[in-house]
Symmetry: D2
Subunit: 342 residues, 4 copies
């Protein structure tokens, strides 16, 4: 069986998940090399999972290792350069979201991808690969709810993760870029159109720290898309019950809801608190299958020479829209969006 020699850069929480998936759960991927600026992470991962090669320098991995594909799970600021480097070296590239922090970076990544049309480039908007989202998309395409009218997306992190959220807040790009960007991608995917206008509001309701970097702990935005559909987004950091990712598509003949109750499993508890479900607590728990499926898709695209559903322009456009929402929130005004001429 054909095995694709794969390397990975970034061994943080999500990076390790990708690495394990590539090493053991995707038949057609073979994890040949791991790379992290933290030598202990590299060593530890190599030893635990018997990975042949380890690097602390990305460029060195790309040059020395005989790779066919690379998975980029490094901090967002490095994405663009690492994409370019890997593509230039002839590798297929899977890159975690966001594509880039600035619009310039996104455009640069676009040009790199365009310069290597025969190599696969895939962006990690993993929700599209979650079985529930895929089921909903299929239902929509089958006409089960008619034409979409309104998209509603909630991405609310658990309060239990608030320390990290505050620590990384200043460099996160703000709630819309950091949290809502997944919902923005989903809205584009489900509504099959681009955003035209946005009004965003929010504030610091529990954690005043967010104000110091011009952000809120909970924000929301209402958009109208070019096909007149509506989209509403909430991004927050203070859910007491868990990791709340909820999506709704109201259509002309029905509504689809995904994750309305973000239950951790199929257990229901009846006790003095009532009848209740306990909730998923983080993205790895919620999207375990999605992370697996997206790498599976990446491998299939490489083997079959097919283009993945999520391309480089999806990354740029979600970034443009998230930035428009951020501007509306900060300037307290309605912002008009033109993703084609941003």
């Amino acid at each position: 069986m054909k095995k694709i020699r794969t390397g990975i850069v970034g061994l943080g929480r999500l990076g390790r998940q990708h690495a394990e998936n590539a090493a053991f759960r995707i038949p057609h991927l073979e994890l040949q090399a791991v790379c992290s600026v933290v030598p202990e992470e590299v060593e530890d991962f190599q030893k635990t999972w018997q990975i042949p090669e380890g690097y602390v320098d990305y460029d060195e991995m790309i040059e020395k290792s005989d790779l066919e594909a690379v998975l980029i799970a490094s901090p967002s600021g490095y994405h663009c350069r690492q994409i370019e480097k890997a593509l230039a070296a002839g590798l297929h590239v899977f890159c975690e979201k966001p594509l880039g922090i600035s619009l310039d970076e996104c455009r640069q990544a676009e040009r790199a991808v365009e310069a290597h049309p025969d190599q696969i480039f895939m962006l990690g908007f993993m929700r599209r690969f979650d079985p529930s989202y895929q089921y909903a998309k299929k239902k929509l395409e089958e006409g089960a709810i008619g034409k979409p009218i309104l998209f509603r997306g909630y991405s609310i992190d658990p309060e239990s993760a608030i320390e990290g959220a505050i620590r990384f807040g200043p460099t996160s790009g703000g709630q819309f870029l950091d949290m809502a960007v997944h919902d923005i991608d989903l809205a584009r995917w489900f509504l099959q159109a681009e955003a035209r206008s946005v009004y965003a509001v929010g504030g610091c309701y529990l954690h005043p720290e967010f104000a110091s970097f011009n952000d809120g702990d909970n924000v929301s935005a209402l958009m109208q898309f070019e096909n007149d559909t509506m989209a509403f987004f909430v991004a927050g950091r203070t859910a007491p019950h868990g990791y709340h990712i909820e999506t709704e598509i109201i259509g002309t003949h029905g509504t689809l809801r995904i994750g309305g109750t973000p239950r951790a499993n199929q257990v229901e508890i009846l006790d003095r608190h009532g009848v209740r479900q306990e909730c998923a607590q983080n993205f790895l728990e919620r999207f375990e299958e999605a992370y697996l499926n997206e790498l599976q898709t990446f491998a299939q695209c490489i083997l079959k020479g097919e283009k993945p559903d999520v391309n480089v322009y999806d990354g740029t456009r979600a970034t443009i829209i998230a930035k428009a929402a951020t501007r509306s929130f900060r300037d307290k005004e309605l912002v008009w969006i033109d993703v084609r001429n941003a």
Copy 2:
């Protein structure tokens, strides 16, 4: 508008509910007289609600007051004699469950009813009048789930009411007669057949006091009915979450569930306990509408001269079945039932 002059005996918790319903919420009933052996209850009720007549003696009320109908909500041991007395005086009778404690009493009540065929007699199996149960019955009759296969009925009192349950335990007739009798009536109503065999088990899992009167704090029974359908019952006293009345009818082409989540209202709470609904805490809260609807039906039957859906034989037969379950539980053996020749 025709108003039916009505009296009530028994002003306990449920009696007061019936009295208020008769006085104010059923246009065709007019509460003329209230009766209780506790003079303060009579006085208090008369004063608060301006009821013309008050009695501490049931016979006196029947003789002196110019009533057309009486509602019997007294302790179970009095039911049979009060039914006879009222029917003999020409009154229509609504009687709370159970019809009688002994089978002899039930038969005696049957004879009294048979002797006055033009008067309405109705037994308070109120669940049949709950909107959800009526909806389920209608669905079943429309063929929505095909033919019934299995009935499951849970009647579990909240742990918060345990003191009263233990206090009244010795005279309650046991869990099957006191709690499960409603489910037994529902099973007969939904399955449209009589029970043929029963095996019952149970024990004292939290409150050893129940053993002293040969009962359990939680019991269950499996029955087969004459049309081969199955019925499973749980009666308990230790629900931490509230008053748990749940019913399921599995049919050949579908299943109906009533009250699977015994939520108190339409509010869902998302907090550190997860996603949850708080529950109804007692029968008045859960069956408020049912108590209203059954009296409404009683009034309609009187006005139109129609026989109610719940008759005296339903009372006898539910009692026979409950007693068979009790015997199975106590003797630890399979019991065969013949409601027609009990």
Copy 3:
């Protein structure tokens, strides 16, 4: 027992519900007179329910009948004048929403109410009297979810009612005034603040007819309130599943959801469509108890001389906010709101 002699004007669908409630289900109200411009409605209602007096002229009822209170359920355009007339005649007034169609009318009603400070005036924002909303309000006030962050209110009429919606569309004032005004009142009630800004979008997704009167069949609006809280509204006409009234309050320490599944009852059906609940189909079915409770409250306020929770200014302010949303939708721009100086 003190009975308040009450009249009603308007015997449409909702008027009849109020009339029946006043006649039979509120002990302290006595329905003395009914009034409608349709003589047949008056006659029919009087005959069916034995109501002493009937009128086809509102002024005549106010002048001739010896009333203490009046319930106004006439078309919205008459509200203001009928309020004035009744108050001037010394009557207590319960008036259906909206207070008035124009802001001028609202102000006129305010002056009338202010001129009769000893008479009760209550506006029919009935959702505040629904048990589930009251439960949620109590939870919020007890601090169960901390401080509110975001309010979300959906009011979506069933597609089955679309003909009427289109017919009355031109005079309805638009989706925000006709449908969302209840949610706007709830948002003010739960958030305890006034709206400051609004951006509204929408369109005709299924029924182009709405465009002809400058409306949409589905619209939404995002507002920020003066205490920085957020509110999102959806008003629509095309729900296939039923009458969808859903409310959410996201707080700093929890979230409350009311009616997320607008189930008609406690029955769950498992069949070839999956596991499902059938839904309430109209406002009388969903808010039966609320309509009862609000009249009960009206009667109590009269008897005890207490001011109801919903006053004339709530009517004016909800109207101001709904009109601002309408303007934003029509002019496609952000609108700033000042309810105190509108």
Copy 4:
């Protein structure tokens, strides 16, 4: 990394799932050989997944292939002999349920396992490895619901699979052995006791064919366990909505429910059928993770020399109990059980 050379016998639907899991999803397993009496299955599987060795004869595989472990997924009648053979050859053995069809076979398997105490033997009661069941077990052990009172287990196959159910019915051992045996194992696991008595009923409600082999299309059983706990089982074949595996444990201080709504995913649909979830349709869909986790556990036990939680006696005892239920159903009488002296 240590890889355990593994073979599999049986390439039916479940066998293929095990084979793929062993080949690609369990890092420490390496699928060396596949065996089936159907040569085409062997060939096809080898080719698709590049498996080195293929056999049509089990004995030949055991003798010739250099295996360390074997997975037995052949028809039930072969289990016992294949277990013996593999253990005698020094292999670790994972065997699908049931352990054996007759009690003699089970005893024979027990002796074989006892004769090779240093080899791992694990039985495929996979539900114990499902994340939701594991969560429930953990909750129970933590005392979240106090002590167990009653176990309820439903295993209802979808009507869509009825043809196969009827075809294999004559040799399936009946509903209790074929379907309810999983629930019987779960009941023993959750209640931590053995069954003492059983009464079983049932019938042919939709498919008379089952009567011809002395079975029913839907059956149920009530048991009491030695620690006085109760257990109720339903096994059926006619669910229109999907594969309905539902479990409930009522405890003294709370209740746990697993799979009450057997939803296929996190999507909720609101359409003309109401608010609904579509359901999982088969065991591979429902228990995908459980099948993976059990093989993972098998591999860990081999590597660490630990005994798995599910042993050979669990197989025997579940069989004894299922057979007692079958006898009660057929003979229409109460049956007493003694798993230690069966």
